[in-house]
């Protein structure tokens, strides 16, 4: 029998970004004994990298804004594949969550009358993003962190969960290891919240950090939960492209929100050539109108530079392919010709800093070179909108690892608000569920023993190291399951994943188990391969183009596919299964909002 440390809680929250922190605060406020478990130090989660802002229809800049408009923008941005109920709750509750953050100490930028200032972003009809310069994510995570430390929540830092524990159908806790010592740690929990973020490290060009290895998606999948919309992957249009060592690092959409425009190597503002019919009624089709929109939003339509991210990413990709790219294979993004240096430094301080320090580019006088970078996964664990309950009893999910909220494409700014709205709901849902359970579940030592044995396997082996397998996986996914997809490449991906899965099970780790990054990566490979397979299989199945899923061989959206989600789950034989399930139908009172197209 292995020795292991164990703890008992009502609710454990796995992941301590915006969603996890907000969930833990809420569960604790409901009286649940709560633990927060994070792979990194507290306050370092990926939320810290969010730049532009939190979308919420506060109406501080444009009083015409309200939840219905935000809901409509979100659904249209998601190409109507969203779970309507999640999108509705999100739009309705986001303003209160932003105000709450302010009451917890967040210092947002202000309007002239002292209210929270809001900025323009892609796909949002009105200036809607509450922000702090271009470091809104940092403000959000620090505010939540500073609130959480006084709530009696136990925080387990640098602690990675590798398996959920179960009793029958129900999730009863989790098992993982301390990064520092490599020793196992088990949790008994009446309910478990997953808030682990995304999957970016399955791709080679990504804005995501090392933590984004699809842990929550995989933990849920192995525990029997269903994943949906995994084919819907967001390539953010503006990542850095040069120098190579920074390729993929995010350039906030706030650059375009604050006046930046895209040009090709001929100096043309090419976005005017890529306005889809779906957004034609609300998008400026001349440079004059687009330029006028920055100052007068009533009489002008929005610049196509601020179309939703999927549209802009595909446009840049096409320009580069057509030979009109920038010297290092991107597009030019310029804000210096419209805005004064002081304005740029005040509004976009970290972008100024980032380009100056990492690329020797002064964005107050020079154009940036930008190109698509894997940024976000819309797909995730299927949840019930109101409670965030997954399809497995005792298991909840919120934030990027949950699916449905953003449909086929997420609008910028809707992630931070998603974290707050559904983080809170997950805390409520999990605490209420835990209160129904009479006693804390026993930790099943057999499951712990099995998980611990699996963790230690890589030490005894002889073979290749984890870094090679990871690099090959990233390159394969980037090449075959990237921004533009076709049948033959997706076939290739599914095939190659079998081989990569085999290799990932045989990697060797040298050294010992104390803070050993090679070992950590070896263990992360299992979830990386799992989510990669889910993405490839779902992308293979969906024979249409919609939002973040673009098929070269099926370039148009189809009405039939628009009414269906692809659900992924583990079959009895342990193999991955994909099936089609109907998209929940929107009630009539919400459908009305989409019939008033002339109003756009």
């Amino acid at each position: 029998m292995v020795n292991f440390e164990s703890h008992e809680y009502d609710v454990i929250v796995i992941g301590a970004g915006g969603a996890g922190l907000r969930a833990a605060i809420e569960a604790s406020a409901q009286g649940a004994r709560t633990a927060l478990i994070c792979k990194s130090l507290l306050g370092k989660a990926h939320t810290v990298m969010a730049e532009g802002g939190i979308a919420a229809s506060l109406g501080n800049v444009w009083p015409q804004d309200n939840w219905q408009v935000h809901f409509r923008d979100t659904m249209r941005g998601g190409k109507m594949l969203n779970n309507w109920r999640m999108a509705q709750l999100h739009a309705q509750e986001a303003p209160d969550r932003v105000r709450e953050l302010e009451s917890w100490g967040a210092l947002f930028d202000r309007t002239s009358d002292g209210k929270i200032l809001q900025r323009d972003f892609g796909g949002h009809r009105y200036a809607r993003l509450a922000h702090v310069g271009d470091r809104t994510g940092l403000e959000m995570i620090r505010t939540l962190q500073q609130n959480a430390v006084h709530k009696g929540i136990d925080v387990y830092m640098e602690c990675t969960i590798t398996r959920l524990l179960k009793a029958g159908d129900r999730v009863t806790g989790a098992i993982g290891y301390w990064r520092e010592s490599g020793k196992p740690i088990a949790f008994s929990a009446k309910s478990v919240v997953l808030a682990t973020g995304g999957v970016g490290k399955a791709f080679s060009v990504t804005s995501n950090s090392w933590e984004y290895t699809g842990d929550g998606h995989s933990l849920a999948y192995w525990a029997g939960a269903e994943l949906i919309d995994m084919e819907c992957v967001q390539f953010h249009p503006t990542g850095m492209v040069w120098p190579p060592s920074v390729r993929g690092i995010l350039v906030t959409e706030g650059v375009r929100g604050d006046g930046g425009t895209l040009r090709n190597s001929d100096g043309e503002r090419f976005m005017f050539d890529y306005i889809p019919d779906f957004f034609a009624a609300e998008t400026a089709n001349t440079i004059e109108e687009a330029d006028g929109w920055y100052e007068d939003k009533v009489n002008n339509r929005r610049t196509p530079d601020l179309l939703p991210r999927d549209e802009v990413a595909r446009a840049i990709n096409s320009e580069v392919k057509a030979g009109r790219g920038s010297p290092h294979g991107g597009a030019f993004l310029d804000i210096s010709s419209r805005r004064k240096p002081e304005y740029i430094r005040r509004r976009l301080p970290s972008m100024y800093h980032q380009f100056k320090q990492l690329a020797d580019v002064d964005i107050t006088s020079q154009a940036m070179e930008v190109g698509p970078t894997m940024h976000y996964i819309m797909g995730g664990i299927r949840v019930e909108a109101d409670t965030t309950a997954t399809t497995v009893p005792g298991l909840f999910a919120a934030g990027e690892c949950a699916g449905g909220m953003h449909g086929a494409n997420r609008l910028g700014g809707n992630s931070l608000s998603d974290l707050l709205v559904f983080g809170r709901r997950a805390g409520l849902g999990a605490a209420a569920d835990a209160a129904q359970q009479s006693s804390g579940p026993e930790i099943d030592e057999d499951q712990v023993e099995e998980a611990v044995a699996k963790m230690r396997e890589p030490f005894g082996r002889d073979g290749e190291g984890p870094y090679e397998v990871h690099r090959d996986l990233q390159e394969m996914m980037q090449k075959n399951v990237g921004i533009i997809r076709t049948e033959t490449e997706l076939d290739e991906a599914v095939n190659q994943l079998k081989d990569l899965k085999d290799r990932s099970k045989k990697v060797m780790v040298s050294g010992h188990q104390q803070y050993n990054p090679g070992w950590h990566l070896a263990l992360d490979l299992e979830s990386l391969v799992t989510v990669s397979e889910a993405i490839a299989r779902a992308a293979h199945m969906r024979k249409e183009s919609r939002g973040g899923h673009t098929r070269d061989d099926y370039p148009k959206p189809s009405e039939e596919w628009g009414a269906q989600n692809i659900a992924i789950s583990q079959g009895n034989d342990g193999e991955m299964e994909a099936r089609i399930t109907p998209l929940p139908e929107m009630p009539a009172e919400l459908k009305v909002l989409f019939e008033e197209e002339n109003d756009a």
Binding site: S40, L41, L42, G43, K44, A45, V48, M49, R99, E102, S103, W104, G105, L107, F108, D109, R110, D113, G114, K115, L117, V132, R135, L138, E139, R142, Q145, Q146, N147, V149, H150, V155, M157, E180, S209, E211, W242, P243, P244, S245, V246, I249, L250, S350, H353, Q354, Q357, L358, A359, G465, P466, R471, V509, S510, G511, Q514, Y515, N516, G518, W519
Partner: protein, 248 residues
Amino acid sequence: MPDFTIAVLRGEAEADSEWKDYTVEVDEGQVVLDVIHRIQATEAPDLAVRWNCKAGKCGSCSAEINGKPRLMCMTRMNLFEPGEKITVAPMKTWPLIRDLVTDVSFNYRTAEKIPAVKLGQPQEDGDFRMHQADVERGQEFRKCIECFLCSDVCHVIRDHPENKENFFGPRFFVRLAELDMHPLDQEERIDLVRNDAGLGYCNITKCCTEACPEDIHITDNAIIPLKERVIDASYDPIKWIGRKLSGK
């Protein structure tokens, strides 16, 4: 770019850490963290390093590079002369865990000692009102990415670990100043600043300010105004009489 020789201080205890030399190929635009990653992927897969965002936003990859406090992800290799030997060591002020990773839990314990912000009621429409000029003072401090380099270089605890019991460190003077300057905060923390936080130990050498990768003016904008607040609160004759009468 030519090959570089990098010496990394490796070990599991400060007493027996050793410098290990690695010769690495460096590509255009690379930063020290890229080089550390290359060493991991080739020669030393178990080389321990903490990192997350690789864009200077999370404050995880703090180290002492050529003896200077720096973020590895924001230190470009072209800063160094070809052939120059580069050293990378963990932060000295925090207990070593392994290689470049240190135990910074002191800072998390300290954070718990600072009472949270306490705002009054919002206006009737549900919104608070604050003016941009007023929030900007606090915003400077909220740029802090908690890399803990300021406290790493602070000689009060770097050279005298025993002072950690009675000294919060520059990171938390920044936090206390931010709360003190919050336009709507109603909590009183000045006794904490004077007593438990140990502000008096600071003799304004500005090492913290020089170390800050976010260019926060820690000494001028946070520590000195806090020191002035302590003096005002402690030596206000009316408050002094009040304290005498109430016996506090």
